[in-house]
């Protein structure tokens, strides 16, 4: 883990994500991605923008090892994802945080129980976990709600718990798949503030969305995906600290 972090932040390696000629065709012959080649430097905030069905989710699923590319390869934080798969998916995921549109929370656990899960799966228990959970919940504005049941929270609050769960282990990479899709504009602004804050601390953020209005409000890089291909004419935006 330490070696990977050094590689990621050290000399000669400042690319958090590198996709080289990545294509994905599903068994039913639907082509979700076609020859995608892109690079996201460590510390950058990048929007993956495109309409529904354009392949954003497939792209993200390849990045966290849930899908294998049909051809080409992706290197994420030092882990190679090729058509043969990825060696240790769990190690790859321990180095990232993932947030979806739906919260994906465990209803039989409390707020802190859900957030702590990320640390528990790596064998961490006890006081240190408690401290980190409170820290993550403070970051998303849910301090004091540690012992609440998930069902007692609003949709926006549930999404914040998911974000806290994705951030609690301070991953170098955050993958977001339409995380604001179920939130109203006020909640979206709040949640975006959390992501911006995390980004300012050096975390690489990859945010897939179809909401172009949202994207325009932030000065971050845009990667346009249209029908499974990267539309290079509209790629632009800021460069993160890793550049």
């Amino acid at each position: 883990m330490l070696i990977l972090r050094i590689l990621a932040s050290g000399s000669g390696w400042n690319r958090m994500i590198q996709m080289t000629h990545v294509s994905k065709t599903y068994p039913n012959q639907v082509c979700a991605l076609s020859d995608i080649t892109l690079e996201i430097p460590a510390g950058q905030f990048a929007f993956i923008v495109g309409p529904s069905g354009s392949g954003k989710t497939t792209l993200l699923r390849i990045l966290f090892g849930a899908e294998r590319p049909t051809s080409g390869e992706a290197v994420v934080n030092g882990f190679t994802i090729s058509p043969q798969g990825v060696g240790r998916v769990h190690q790859l995921r321990r180095n990232m945080g993932i947030v979806f549109q739906d919260a994906k929370l465990l209803l039989d656990r409390t707020v802190s129980g859900n957030v702590a899960l990320t640390l528990e799966v790596t064998g961490q228990f006890g006081r240190e976990v408690k401290r980190k959970v409170v820290e993550a919940l403070t970051e998303v504005g849910l301090k004091g709600r540690e012992n609440d049941s998930i069902l007692s929270l609003s949709a926006g609050e549930q999404q914040r718990v998911t974000i806290a769960r994705a951030l609690v282990h301070q991953p170098p990479l955050l993958l977001l798949d339409e995380p604001t899709g179920n939130l109203d504009s006020e909640m979206t602004t709040d949640v975006m503030a959390v992501f911006s804050h995390v980004h300012q601390k050096g975390t690489t953020v990859v945010f897939a969305t179809h909401n172009t209005d949202l994207v325009r409000r932030y000065p971050y890089r845009e990667i346009q995906i249209l029908a499974g291909r990267e539309d290079r004419s509209e790629t632009g935006g800021e460069r993160g600290p890793g550049d």
Binding site: H90, R94, K104, V121
Partner: protein, 285 residues
């Protein structure tokens, strides 16, 4: 064993029923084998001799007989000894033998075998050697009894093995399916664990432990049920049959066999969990 108690209970009951059927056959086979051993211990050979054997020839015969492999002791029973034995057996009715000369009864050799020779296969080896002696007329050892009973025990053992194999396959299939239900009911939890980077072992081991506990409880339940049925069998049978059976060496399964069944249940539970988990616990999104 969090969550679905109904599914867990169902799995335990299925394991218990399967092991109960198999262990019932094992109990029958175990007791038949004990009976066979007792009867085999009582096996002796009686070699009837032709006419009157002169004393010097008799000594040589006894010496040669004792040299046969598998024979423990040889006792000569003369015609007079046989008559005396019959009189003792007849008791008050011994007057039935009045006027009968002891010579009517043939003299014989009463042969005790070494323990390892008290079975139908080994007895035949000894008998074939005894038949070589010209003084020997006829040999008796209750062959039919031993062979029939031995055949019965072998049949029960065969049924036990075949049934065991079939039940094992059926049990694995049923347990795997039931556990698949249990695992499926926690699919979301597994998905979230995979998402946050849980190692395959972190996700799978609790299911294996669950399978192990279910297997242990199922096997334990089966052993208790079998013991209960064993007691009920004796309690509700006709007194005359019970008295006859109580004279036999009939007993419940020995502790080491019970331990084997409990361990078998646990192995079965883990194996069932493993089969059930192959598909569902595969690492994915």
């Amino acid at each position: 064993m969090r969550g679905n108690w109904f599914l867990n209970l169902g799995t335990i009951c299925i394991i218990a029923i399967s092991i109960l059927i198999f262990s019932a056959f094992s109990l029958i086979a175990f007791n038949l084998t004990s009976l066979l051993k007792v009867w085999e211990d009582k096996i002796e050979i009686i070699a009837y001799l032709k006419g009157k054997t002169p004393p010097n020839e008799l000594d040589a015969l006894l010496k040669s007989t004792r040299l046969i492999t598998g024979i423990e002791t040889v006792k000569y029973i003369s015609s007079s000894d046989a008559m005396a034995f019959m009189e003792t057996k007849l008791g008050k009715q011994k007057n039935l033998l009045e006027g009968i000369q002891p010579d009517v009864l043939p003299s014989s050799l009463e042969i005790q075998l070494k323990k390892e020779y008290r079975n139908s296969a080994k007895i035949k080896e000894v008998i074939s050697q005894l038949q070589q002696f010209p003084q020997v007329d006829e040999i008796q050892y209750g062959r039919e009894w031993v062979e029939t009973f031995s055949g019965l025990v072998h049949s029960v053992r065969l049924v036990q093995i075949i049934l065991g194999g079939l039940l094992l396959a059926a049990m694995t299939f049923i347990i795997a399916n039931t556990l698949q239900g249990t695992i499926s009911s926690r699919r979301e939890e597994i998905e979230v664990m995979h998402l946050v980077g849980a190692s395959p072992a972190f996700v799978q081991v609790p299911f294996y432990i669950e399978g192990l506990i279910q297997g242990f409880l199922g096997a334990g339940l089966a052993m208790m049920s079998l013991f209960f049925l064993f007691k009920v069998f004796f309690a509700y049978m006709a007194p005359s049959v019970r008295e006859w059976l109580l004279r036999m060496p009939i007993s419940f399964l020995p502790p080491e066999t019970i331990a084997w069944f409990l361990s078998g249940g646990m192995v079965l539970g883990i194996f069932g969990s493993f089969i059930a988990s192959i598909k569902i616990l595969r690492y994915s999104g």
